[in-house]
């Protein structure tokens, strides 16, 4: 496969649930058919959706109404068949903790056809009050109400990490000692064949430290993840799709549903791109992830709103 356009890719992806598997490895798309034997031993398949950086309350050139684009994303989610098991929100729910933003977000996401929405915070959700309001709304069911969490779904272990509550120093994300120790214990009982999905706001790899697009102690967390045969790391924060593969660990950053940010180093600074809304719609969107077969990479499909 030399080249494939996005439309062709998405059409093929529609077959993921019935036997054709598309995977992104090292940034190169590849496909193969499941054999009947593989299909027979495939555990219960399911899909989930990742949305990120909804920035409710944002108003700028690229998006006059971030709540409206979130509603479009919800409509896309609700059109998926079969429906996703759940939705992961990888942070920056609000734009600068604008008053009422969390309420607006909750109201819109109540319309999602999925069992639940799982949240982890972005720096925009916690910078004013150290996470007090965020955790009062979304901290229930997380470790000591601190925001980080893990759960299992159909044999896949999901881990949500918080890397925006120690946002000091050089402006990078950080997990902190307590959370890393918890992660070690959380993963300890799991067999190496357990598929792991880690989700956090700021990338867990050094995308572009000059803009703060990195997590300073991510390497320690990754140290506990490298023994697993399939690790998928889903992040937001940088408002664009980037992928990287390191051994069995696949990193994916996601688009925002609100506005795009420039490619690393391509502008004087990060921040909302000042482009017309119609153009921006082709750079925001959501991610559909299918868990296809044990031991196989997850099928990750990003689609734009415009």
């Amino acid at each position: 496969m030399d080249r494939i356009d996005r439309r062709g890719f998405l059409e093929c992806m529609a077959w993921a649930g019935t036997g054709l598997v598309w995977t992104a490895t090292g940034g190169v798309m590849s496909s193969r058919l499941l054999t009947a034997a593989e299909a027979a031993e495939t555990p219960a398949r399911f899909r989930f959706v990742q949305i990120s950086d909804t920035h409710v309350g944002f108003t700028g050139q690229a998006n006059k109404d971030a709540a409206a684009t979130l509603e479009q994303a919800v409509a896309r989610i609700n059109a998926l068949d079969p429906a996703p098991a759940f939705v992961l929100h990888t942070g920056d729910l609000s734009h600068g903790q604008k008053p009422g933003a969390f309420d607006t977000l909750s109201k819109i996401l109540q319309g999602v056809r999925a069992q639940r929405v799982v949240y982890i915070p972005g720096e925009h959700d916690v910078f004013l009050d150290g996470g007090k309001e965020y955790l009062s709304r979304y901290g229930a069911g997380t470790v000591n109400g601190r925001g980080w969490q893990s759960f299992d779904h159909s044999g896949v272990h999901f881990v949500g990490l918080v890397n925006v509550l120690k946002y000091k120093g050089e402006g990078v994300g950080a997990l902190g000692e307590e959370q890393i120790e918890w992660l070690e214990k959380d993963l300890a009982p799991l067999g190496a064949s357990t598929p792991i999905v880690v989700f956090a706001h700021v990338p867990l790899w050094a995308v572009y430290p000059q803009w703060g697009w990195t997590t300073e102690d991510a390497e320690r967390a990754l140290g506990y993840l490298r023994r697993f045969g399939s690790v998928t790391v889903l992040n937001g924060h940088i408002h664009q799709v980037l992928q990287k593969v390191e051994g069995t660990v696949r990193f994916h950053t996601a688009m925002s549903t609100a506005f795009p940010q420039p490619a690393p180093g391509s502008a004087p600074a990060p921040g909302p791109m000042k482009i017309p809304e119609t153009e921006a719609r082709r750079m925001v969107g959501l991610r559909d992830v299918s868990v296809v077969a044990s031991g196989q990479p997850l099928a990750v499909v990003d689609s734009t709103l415009g």
């Binding site: 004013l128 402006g171 921040g271």
Partner: protein, 120 residues
């Protein structure tokens, strides 16, 4: 290409003059309401930078920060105990410095944005 280059070049000083005049007007307006001897000063937040990053002012000066970015920024000084809320595009934050000292501050959302106010 040459033509557009020369147009751009010729526009630059003109833009500078407009900015200088606007800045003078702003300063004049601000001075009118300030205590004598301590002219107010503005710090611009643009492209994820505080400008000027190192500011020296006399005691009693009111410094006003203006966020020109679409991204939210803050003016936060952990040690000195002052902080703005999140400043949206074109929003401002002001603080009067009544005591001499070096006031380091940063943006709580983008802590690599750092600057100081030296009050003499």
């Amino acid at each position: 290409m040459d033509t557009s280059g020369s147009v751009r070049t010729s526009l630059r000083p003109w833009r500078g003059r407009v900015a200088a005049v606007a800045s003078l007007l702003t300063t004049a307006i601000l001075i009118a309401g300030a205590a004598p001897g301590a002219a107010p000063v503005a710090v611009d937040i643009k492209d994820f930078k505080f400008s000027p990053a190192a500011l020296t002012v006399p005691v009693g000066t009111t410094v006003t920060w203006i966020n020109h970015d679409e991204e939210t920024h803050t003016v936060t000084s952990g040690a000195s105990g002052f902080t703005s809320t999140g400043l949206s595009h074109d929003e401002t934050f002001a603080r009067t410095f009544d005591r001499p000292g070096t006031y380091a501050y940063f943006c709580a959302l983008h802590p690599h944005m750092r600057a100081t106010v030296l009050v003499k």
